[in-house]
């Protein structure tokens, strides 16, 4: 299987402070990969480096093209979208405006209309609230909106930063089910950063464990679930 995203010796820094120290990882075409690790391990930083928001070096390719040195707008156009931590919905804008903003890099008006309808099918609650301010919705609804907004860019790779953060377990379950559907039906590859390792390993087929900016451990989801060390240190049972 070919990889849609491939990092080799990737380093990243916030200004002068280096946070990522030469990591290798890959996301296979159509696959879901999880990135686990404690707070401050560099997971969010890795995602932000992929989106071109930080100074990064080493090698980072998306469908064979280097992402390093590109602007965020360019990277979105190439087919990478991110659902940031804390959702990043436009709180003062309506649901529909949020979706239109998600499609900002696209020019096909009819396609955008169709995709908005498709999002309302994936997330019926968004359809019911299309003219409501995003900021007035519940956390779970806003997370759904954030995912829908990211999908409006028609990404081939979706980066998700802690989609379960602060949400009730039932809502998290619903969101993860929808992610699985989107992955299966639309073939959108995903790189998932999660604190909730149990759930992440259930959705992903492969996972990397980051520790202070380096890959400490990697393997198939089944291997990591079975590993005694991982279980004790990160899964908490």
């Amino acid at each position: 299987m070919t990889n849609i995203l491939e990092a080799k010796g990737l380093c990243a820094a916030y200004g002068p402070r280096q946070v990522i120290w030469g990591i290798d990882f890959a996301v296979p075409e159509g696959g879901i990969v999880a990135m686990l690790g404690a707070n401050g391990a560099g997971k969010t930083t890795t995602l932000r480096a992929i989106m071109g928001e930080l100074r990064a070096w080493g090698s980072l390719t998306f469908r064979g093209q280097s992402l390093l040195g590109r602007s965020t707008a360019d990277i979105v156009k190439l087919g990478v979208a991110m659902v940031p931590e804390g959702r990043g919905t436009f709180v003062d804008f309506t649901v529909e405006e949020n979706l239109l903003l998600g499609a900002y890099t696209r020019r096909d008006k009819d396609g955008i209309r169709q995709d908005i309808q498709r999002m309302y099918e994936y997330f019926p609650v968004l359809g019911q609230r299309r003219n409501q301010r995003a900021g007035s919705m519940s956390g779970g609804e806003q997370q759904m909106l954030a995912i829908a907004r990211a999908l409006m860019a028609r990404p081939r790779l979706l980066l998700l930063d802690e989609p379960s953060l602060g949400l009730a377990p039932l809502i998290v379950q619903e969101i993860f089910q929808i992610l699985e559907t989107i992955n299966r039906e639309d073939g959108v590859s995903m790189l998932l950063v999660e604190q909730d390792a149990v759930r992440a390993l259930r959705l992903a087929s492969y996972a990397y464990l980051l520790e202070t900016g380096r890959v400490a451990l990697q393997g198939s989801a089944a291997e990591l679930q079975a590993s005694e060390d991982v279980r004790r240190a990160y899964l908490g049972y």
Binding site: M51, E53, S71, T72, A73, V76, K77, A81, M82, P84, G88, T89, F90, V91, D92, F93, E97, L100, L101, G102, Y104, T105, G135, S136, M137, S138, G139, R149, A150, A153
Partner: protein
């Protein structure tokens, strides 16, 4: 009664000018969340440039639109050179920089054009003679300013509400990081906001100069009234800026006439009283939306 109507008209004329400059303030606030103290002086400077073009033999409307175009570029450049580098700096820093913009354009105008007041013509094609409507004198220039104000407000409202670019500009101002993630070039949007605001400011300068006289400080008082207008209407609402401008114009005109001790000397004070009163009762302004977010 005619006396009263005459005052209402005068108030509307002043108010239209405040509204125009308030529109510029609102535009910058909407696109960068900055309150630009240099807005009036940028408008003053573009008006001087129009005066130079007129002196060089340009027709009125050539100079008018030339100055507006230069205003746009001026807005872009000021944002690029002065505001973009200090993005994310504390508010105080940004306020000081916009005060610097005020001083810069004020000094440059004084240096190039001296402080001697200049006569600036009214728009070509607008009659100089007042119309007598049932004993009330209607000044065609005032009607023009009012019409321009309404037209500009409608255009801006439609632009922000219905166009993709307008939506992207609002999004960049509201949540720059999220805007970046959907592929919007945020610095470009903010620069555009400054450019469009400077255009609106240029219109305010060009239309008020014939009434006030053109000298380096002629926009300073107008700026204060424009602040009052924008505060009253809500700093994030173009419609609010216009309605706010008209209310401030009427309050100063009528207050100056009917409240004995105020007269023309204390009109400015009325504007301040209005700002304070509004901030106490409704901090977001009449048309502004208070920020309420569920997390």
């Amino acid at each position: 009664m005619t006396d009263f109507l005459q005052l209402v008209l005068a108030g509307a004329a002043d108010g239209s000018i405040y509204g125009l400059l308030a529109l510029a303030l609102v535009l910058i606030y909407r696109s960068t969340h900055i309150i630009n103290f240099g807005q009036g002086e940028m408008a003053m400077f573009t008006t001087y440039l129009a005066w130079s073009m007129l002196n060089a033999g340009w027709p009125y409307w050539g100079a008018f639109f030339g100055a507006i175009a230069i205003g746009f570029v001026l807005g872009l450049v000021v944002h690029r050179i002065l505001i973009h580098p200090i993005e994310g700096a504390p508010e105080l820093t940004i306020v000081i920089v916009t005060l610097g913009i005020y001083l810069f354009f004020n000094s440059i105008a004084l240096w190039i054009y001296s402080g001697v007041p200049k006569i600036f013509p009214i728009p070509a094609g607008v009659p100089k003679q007042s119309w007598d409507v049932g004993g009330v004198f209607v000044v065609p220039l005032h009607v023009t300013i009012f019409a321009v104000l309404l037209a500009l407000m409608l255009v801006l409202f439609a632009f922000f509400r219905f166009t993709k670019l307008g939506l992207a500009m609002r999004a960049s101002a509201a949540q720059p990081h999220s805007a970046l993630l959907v592929g919007i070039s945020v610095p470009m949007m903010m620069g555009l906001g400054w450019g469009i605001a400077a255009m609106a400011g240029a219109v305010a300068g060009l239309l008020s100069a014939p009434i006030v006289v053109l000298e380096p400080n002629f926009m300073a008082t107008i700026l204060i009234f424009a602040f009052a207008s924008a505060t009253l209407g809500g700093f994030d609402s173009p419609v609010g800026a216009v309605v706010g401008g008209l209310i401030v114009g009427e309050v100063s005109a009528l207050g100056g006439r009917y409240i004995e001790f105020i007269g023309t000397d204390l009109q400015l004070l009325l504007a301040f009283a209005l700002i304070v009163a509004v901030l106490l009762v409704r901090p977001a302004g009449l048309f502004g939306r208070p920020q309420v977010v569920r997390v």
